[in-house]
């Protein structure tokens, strides 16, 4: 069952205003150090990269490591310079990309 990421971006912002963006995504974040019932290592599968772009320009990029808990939550601040679409991408070890986007109008 795939769960949609949760994203909070203000719909409107004044030019130059600093706005907060929050994201929450569902992911197991399998560390690669756990063993299954037969004693075999469960291969690592974590979200290793998170990026946020505004109109194609990168505003935030983060590398994640195995100590990050399941269902990673990000909150960060962006200065509102132009209207446009924020695009969020989470990439995991299996190469799966989860994408989401959100609009913001700068007046």
């Amino acid at each position: 069952m795939s769960k949609k990421p949760r994203i909070k971006v203000p719909k409107k912002a004044a030019k130059g205003e600093i706005v907060q963006i929050k994201t929450l995504i569902s992911h197991n974040m399998e560390t690669g150090t756990r063993k299954d019932k037969s004693g075999k290592l469960i291969p690592r599968n974590i979200i290793n990269k998170f990026t946020c772009t505004l109109n194609g320009k990168e505003v935030l990029s983060a590398n994640l490591y195995p100590s990050v808990a399941a269902n990673p939550y990000f909150a960060f601040h962006v200065r509102a310079t132009e209207s446009g679409t924020f695009e969020f991408t989470w990439t995991d070890d299996e190469g799966k990309e989860i994408k989401a986007s959100n609009e913001m109008t700068v007046a």
Binding site: M1, K3, K4, R6, K8, K22, L24, I25, S26, N28, M29, A69, A70, N71, Y73
Partner: protein
């Protein structure tokens, strides 16, 4: 003069003590009955964990609650119905419903948990496949239904046939079991508030289930928690939805009477 100064010092000392006591003291979630000593697990949780629960965005259980919300309007099964076809808007029709469970099931002659009600609707009304107790859909839907009663007091009707089940649950609660020979009450009545290794024991109130547990890194049902507790005292756990756990749920929910429904709660 000397006396006066001493008085002032004593006052200051007392004031300092009062101030020092306050931040460390347990915070009660707004609860009508603060005279009773029934305390939500929320009041035992670390401030960081409380903050996660307080902010609906930050609360990771909401990812599952979203599934529940989606499923509410999703048509499934041969009858071509969704939950909404019969119940309409969940915010209206389900308000207060979750706070009353478990209720008496006249057909099965057992208490009925929310999970059972959902599957009854799915198989009988929607003619759809039942969900597994611990599936994402079931957790999500149970959460979504119970969420509509958030802040309302837990109010289980234990009259009539439920009375015997309440007694049975109470017996379970106070019966020693497992290699460690421990009953639920040893931790959650006798030692609530004390540490068990690095964790603080709560009263084991069930007003926030399905709860997101940081240890599980996902939400879990009340019966999963029961199983966990039974495992930890090295007893043979029962199945989710078993008569034993339904009786226990009846007792545990009755014990939480008056506490606000917190679903979906966040605990360590």
């Amino acid at each position: 003069m000397e006396k006066k100064i001493w008085g002032a010092v004593a006052m200051l000392g007392l004031g300092g003590l009062l101030v020092a006591c306050q931040p460390g003291g347990p915070k009660l979630i707004d609860k009508a009955d603060t005279t009773s000593d029934t305390r939500s697990g929320y009041s035992y949780a670390e401030p960081e964990t409380q903050a996660m629960q307080d902010d609906d965005f930050n609360n990771p259980a909401m990812l599952w609650a979203d599934i529940g919300g989606d499923q509410w309007t999703t048509v499934d099964g041969e009858a071509g119905k969704s939950c909404q076809s019969c119940h309409g808007e969940a915010a209206k029709s389900m308000k207060g419903v979750g706070a009353k469970f478990p209720i008496w099931d006249a057909k099965l002659k057992t208490p009925k948990a929310v999970e059972m009600q959902i599957n009854e609707c799915r198989t009988e009304r929607m003619k759809a496949q039942p969900w597994k107790w611990e599936s994402d859909q079931m957790l999500g839907m149970t959460m979504y239904v119970k969420m509509q009663s958030r802040g309302m007091p837990v109010n289980v009707d234990v009259s009539g046939p439920m009375k015997a089940w309440l007694e049975r649950g109470k017996e379970f609660y106070n019966t020693r079991r497992g290699l460690l020979d421990m009953a639920c009450s040893h931790c959650h009545v006798d030692n609530a508030g004390n540490m068990i290794r690095a964790n603080r024991l709560s009263q084991g109130q069930a007003n926030g289930f399905p709860t997101y547990r940081l240890k599980w890194q996902k939400p879990g049902s009340l019966h999963r928690r029961f199983k966990g507790c039974n495992d930890q005292v090295r007893a043979e756990p029962f199945k989710r939805g078993s008569e034993e756990y339904l009786a226990l749920e009846t007792y545990v929910m009755w014990r939480a009477s008056g506490l606000p429904v917190e679903t979906p709660a966040v605990r360590n």
